[in-house]
Every structure is written in structure tokens, then in C-alpha cells.
Subunit: 252 residues, 2 copies
């Protein structure tokens, strides 16, 4: 009997219409559903996307616990437990699909699960289905580019600090600042000082049905925002150096 | 009679299975298909994705010409011609769907078409459907993260030069270097000097059926690669500063 494979199915940022056809198929091909939760009995945003698409949770679907902690040892224990659980199903010959919000390669639990699984059985087949990241959904909704021709884009957790963000303004046309909650007021101060307030948008729960877009970020001063929040900053005054190009062949 | 709306339908990087359900619907709802070509009679990569999905091109589908040039005046003329064509259909009450490869907010023609259209008639409704960017498909295929927890990601055209790229190694865990063709040998030299060759992958036509992945980029020295090529560089030796976090609420 052949072992099953683990499929990381990116479901996109929340709108069930942004699920790809491939991920949609993976939800329907008989694989055992699994999804991440922060604690036993906890909710899963990834599972909620599938449910919002009108799909019923299969009776043998299974949550996998990944606690929110930076304690590497604790995390490793949970990853190992999850991988061991998944491996049992795979060894029975059945595929396992792991539901992922957003894109499986982008700030996702899936990579840890996949690496841990390969660590205990490197013969197991793993497939990752790419998805739409939340910030792409946000720029689409706003009708603004993430990257225009020749633009540079930085995607950074705000946790690295305001000085770090300020340094990026030298080289980047677009900043996607994620997890801005702890530094929001300081970031707003920086953006005001750099005259970037008109070019900044705040997006909470991008791409989900609870999405909230704030056009004037100055109104957010002092507010406690959601953990799933980002700032999209366009930086029109960046000074560009020379660029070097290849011969522009007339292909289409 | 109500005017139609313009829909920018991101079809993803090439694999027709990576089309979202929403873009799929937009191809089937009776909207007039339009797609970008570099010159009259030229091929369209976006259209080819729809065809690869088994869809027939509607008899009234229409290519829109966007020449590959940095001549702003020439471009503006073509955008205006395209927008005027689209507007005729919209004013007849019918929707127009513009087929986009990859994601419509990311290095795409769609933003120019949308802005030009709004410039001549700001009452027109425009909807952008986000899609899977090519580099997300590439990292999924490679089974490596684009961004792991707390990682920083830079997406930059290689045209800004090797010194620019080298500077980014201070602050970024992942570099997505696009359009590497004209500088590939110099970039390989830099990566070798920085001992990053083992952490670099070359991807040509990411996510398409003609995708080519090169694991040892040293073998590419002197080769003329395709225009649609990128380097994915992981930078494990980046020194991270302190990070500041908010209170980790135990939500899932």
C-alpha cells in the first residue's frame, strides 16, 4: 500500500471565493481534513474559511494544536505531536489536507508541520498549494498597486521597530508592515513626519468578511487594534538610482 | 441602463488550477473578455492560462495592446486607446473582464488600465480580484518558506544593481529578485561571496507548465536565461535586532 501525502491547502485571506480551484479540489478529494488551533477546543480561522464556502466539516476532521508561543522547545513538542498524528493517517494510505489561511509559504504554520514530518519520515510526499496572501487581497480591495513597474516591496513585521521601518524608506516603494499593533502610534508618528499619511492605509483582517479599512490612519492614534492588522505604505518620494536592463525583446 | 464594471481577474502564475473561484466565475459570467498583448496579433500569457484551463476564447474577446516600452508618452497613448475601447462596452451595460497573469496588484498592466479608465470616466465601477503571485507558487513548489515567523521579505527588480541587493542582506531574510536576466552573473558572484549559493534557487516561468527550477545556480553562469526569471534567496545569517511585541493574547 502506498502512503498518503500531506497537502498544505492555502485557502487565501478569508473570502471563500479567493480559494483556488486546486485547494478547492483538495478539500473534496477524500483527504482527512486537519487545521491549526491555538489550543484544544479553540477556533480556527482556516477552518472558518472552508465553512464560509458552505462546506461541512467532515466528521473525521481533526484540529492540530500549535500554541502561540516563542518557546522553541514547547513548539517543537507540539509540532512533533501534530506530525505524528498526521503520519498515522498517511501510513494508512490516506491523504491528509492541512487547511491554511492566506498562503502556506507566508508566515504559516504549515512549513513547521512539513519540516517536522520530514524529520521523522523523509519518504513522505508533501505538496504545498499556493494561495492569495492577505496583503494582495488588501491592495486589490483598495485598487492600488502592491508593486508598480520597477517598484520595490518590503514585507516586514513592525516588531523590528520604527528606526528599522524608517531605514526601509530609502530603498522601498511599498512597505507592508504586519502585526503593527504594539507600535501603531509610533509608526503613525513616523509616517506623519515623513509626510506619508496620505499614502498609507490601515487594513484589519484583510480579505475576510470582517475586513476593516481605515483611509486616514491619524484617526487610529491611541486605538487598540486587532492583532491581524497591517499598514500599506506607498512611498512616492523615494529617490531611485540608475537601473540596468537587458535588451527589451519584443515578445508578448 | 446601468454601466457595466471592469473586472481585473488575476489568473495566477500559470497553472490553471491556481485560478481562484472568484476569477473563474468572472470568466463565466458573460463579461467581455479582454487581455493584454505586447503588439497586434501577439500572444497573451494571461489568455493562455484561461485556455490551459480548457476554456474557449469567446468570439467577441478582444486583445488590448500595451507595448513593452518605458516611453511614458507612448504608453499613455496605448492605455488611453485601451481604456476607450473598454469604456464603450461598459457604457453598453456589459461588464468587461481583463485577464491578468499572476496578481493584478503586482507588476501588472491592470493598474494602468484602471487608472486611465477612471481618468476619463470616474463613475465607472472597477473590481480587482486578487490572485496568487508567481513567487508564492515558486516557494510552494520548492517547499520552502517565503516568510517564516518574524521574517522580512524584499521583492525587488534586480535592475537596481548588485550593490543595492547586497545592502538588502543586512535587513532581509528572504530576497525575491525579479528580472534577473541582465545581471545574473554578477548576482551569482555576490551570492557566492556571501556564501548564499546553497540558500538560493533560480526559477524561470514560475508556476507555469514551462517552469524550470535550478537548485545549483552556479551552473547558470554565462547562460542567457528567460526574461521571466527570478532568484529566491534565503539569508540565514542575517543578524536580527531586538523585536518588540504586544501582549500575546491567547486567541486562535
Amino acid at each position: 500500500m502506498n502512503a498518503g501525502k500531506l497537502i498544505g491547502a492555502s485557502l487565501g485571506p478569508g473570502d471563500p471565493q479567493l480559494i483556488t480551484r486546486k485547494a478547492w479540489d483538495a478539500l473534496h478529494n477524500g483527504a482527512q481534513w486537519t487545521w491549526p488551533v491555538r489550543r484544544k477546543g479553540g477556533d480556527s480561522y482556516a477552518l472558518a474559511i472552508a465553512q464560509a464556502a458552505g462546506l461541512a466539516v467532515p466528521h473525521d476532521g481533526m484540529p492540530l494544536v500549535f500554541p502561540m508561543t516563542h518557546d522553541a522547545e514547547k513548539l517543537a513538542r507540539y509540532w512533533l505531536a501534530a506530525a505524528t498524528t498526521v503520519l498515522e493517517t498517511l501510513h494508512s494510505g490516506r491523504d491528509v489536507v492541512f487547511l491554511v489561511e492566506g498562503d502556506a509559504s507566508t508566515y504559516s504554520t504549515f512549513g513547521h508541520l512539513a519540516r517536522t514530518l520530514h524529520g521523522i519520515d523523509d519518504s513522505v510526499a508533501i505538496e504545498t498549494i499556493a494561495g492569495v496572501p492577505a496583503y494582495n487581497a488588501a491592495t486589490a480591495k483598495l485598487g492600488q498597486p502592491l508593486a508598480d513597474v520597477d517598484d520595490t516591496v518590503a514585507i516586514v513585521p513592525a516588531a523590528y521597530g520604527v528606526e528599522f521601518v524608517e531605514r526601509l524608506l530609502v530603498d522601498f516603494d511599498t512597505l507592508v508592515l504586519i502585526k503593527v499593533k504594539p507600535l501603531l502610534d509610533e509608526l503613525i508618528d513616523l509616517l506623519e513626519r515623513k509626510q506619508l499619511i496620505p499614502h498609507t492605509r490601515f487594513v484589519e483582517k484583510a480579505g475576510s468578511s470582517a475586513e476593516r479599512i481605515v483611509e486616514d490612519v491619524l484617526t487610529l492614534r491611541g486605538e487598540k487594534v486587532n492583532y491581524l492588522s497591517l499598514l500599506l505604505v506607498r512611498n512616492p518620494s523615494r529617490v531611485r538610482g540608475e537601473t540596468r536592463r537587458g535588451c527589451k525583446k519584443k515578445t508578448s
